[in-house]
Amino acid sequence: MTHGRSKAGSLAGGNDAGDACNGSEEQLLRCTADNWCVINDGTAPPTIVMGVSGRVSELVKIQAVLQDQVPVVRRFSGGGTVIVDQGTVFVTVICNKAAVAGLQPFPRDIMSWSGQLYGKVFDRFGEFHLRENDYAFSHRKFGGNAQSITKNRWVHHTSFLWDYDVKNMDYLKIPKRAPEYRLARNHTDFLCRMKEYMPSRSIFTDGVIMALGEHFSVQPTDLQTVLSDDEEFVPSTKLLSQHDLEEIVYSKESLRV
């Protein structure tokens, strides 16, 4: 498409903490009318990020998290639990419903579109697949997705494992709801590192912007200049406090916080 392409701003989010990153995306989704691609290259400190409905006690080893003071964020989109760190690259696409002609705002339709987009980025580096809802080289996952769909806009965000610290995976339990292709494999056997397939992070991020350029007219912008101090907007993205986590540990039922 070279005529009448939608515009998309590309934002380098820097090295934001998990809750700041997700909160900004939620604000871009709900408070702006533009299309965006946000690339956040690394998160410090290592942070657990959960989907909107995840039960903390089922997905996270709370005692270890409390002991080591690992931040836990509940994001506004669906999907599973990840632990993100300096080796994680977040890429988020936020679009108006009409930005991609013929694309219905439902999860599998959006995932199919994004799978084709990322196929262009990754095909030459490995046997790339959209497996159920994950991005994988062969049968090993390197990208997990989550989405949020509103009346006229949608967000598709991916946490890409450029690299990961296997010790961090110990904070997570193996989820009950897992993709079939996981076949009960532990984290080490199920995941792979993108750095073993691609020469550099910048080749990856440049590739994403180039692939987007086939659908959109892309203009780089700074995140801080885009986000206004909108005091009325209250994100649902939430950093769980120590108190929240302790309540879950001591409660007989699973609380949703």
Binding site: F76, G78, G79, P105, P107, N133, I149, T150, K151
Partner: protein, 156 residues
């Protein structure tokens, strides 16, 4: 049975069951309901309305694993989101087709979110609303218009 007789039988059965029929296998659309272009349905009885998502929506969403329900007593506005469903790693807003006050929510959905898929027009209802403006119903689609709308969306 000859094809024409089968079609006639199907049409009569559908009319009896108050279901609209179409030449191809489309999602179920019920007569006597009104529909929003964001795929919610509303059943009005006096100044009381029951709201849910349509068969088209649940089919496109995939297995619903979580329903975010509003509190009883909150206000809803036509076209604005009041809750969400989660399916296939996505949260999708549910938008109210009517304005008013939420008088009841379907608590069963907390334990059985799959009711939205299995029975979108009956057991999978989401909220009941006391209407504040029944005139808003005129801006919603009837079953025929909604069916055409879904057909156009799927064929796009």
């Amino acid at each position: 049975m000859a094809a024409s007789s089968r079609l006639l039988w199907a049409s009569r059965a559908a009319a009896y069951l108050r279901i609209s029929t179409f030449p191809r296998a489309f999602s179920t659309v019920l007569k006597d309901l009104k529909y929003a272009d964001t795929h919610e349905w509303v059943k009005v009885e006096g100044d009381s309305a029951t709201v849910g998502i349509t068969d088209h929506a649940q089919d496109h969403l995939g297995d619903v694993v979580y329903v975010e329900l509003p509190e009883v007593g909150v206000s809803v506005s036509q076209g604005k989101n009041f809750g969400a469903v989660e399916s296939v790693k996505a949260t999708s807003d549910i938008n109210s087709p009517v304005s008013g006050e939420v008088v009841e929510v379907n608590e069963k959905l907390s334990e059985e979110p799959g009711l939205v898929n299995a029975s979108p027009y009956e057991k999978g209802w989401i909220i009941k609303v006391k209407l504040s403006d029944s005139g808003e119903l005129n801006s919603l689609m009837d079953d025929e218009k909604y069916s055409k709308f879904c057909e156009e969306e799927d064929n796009h």
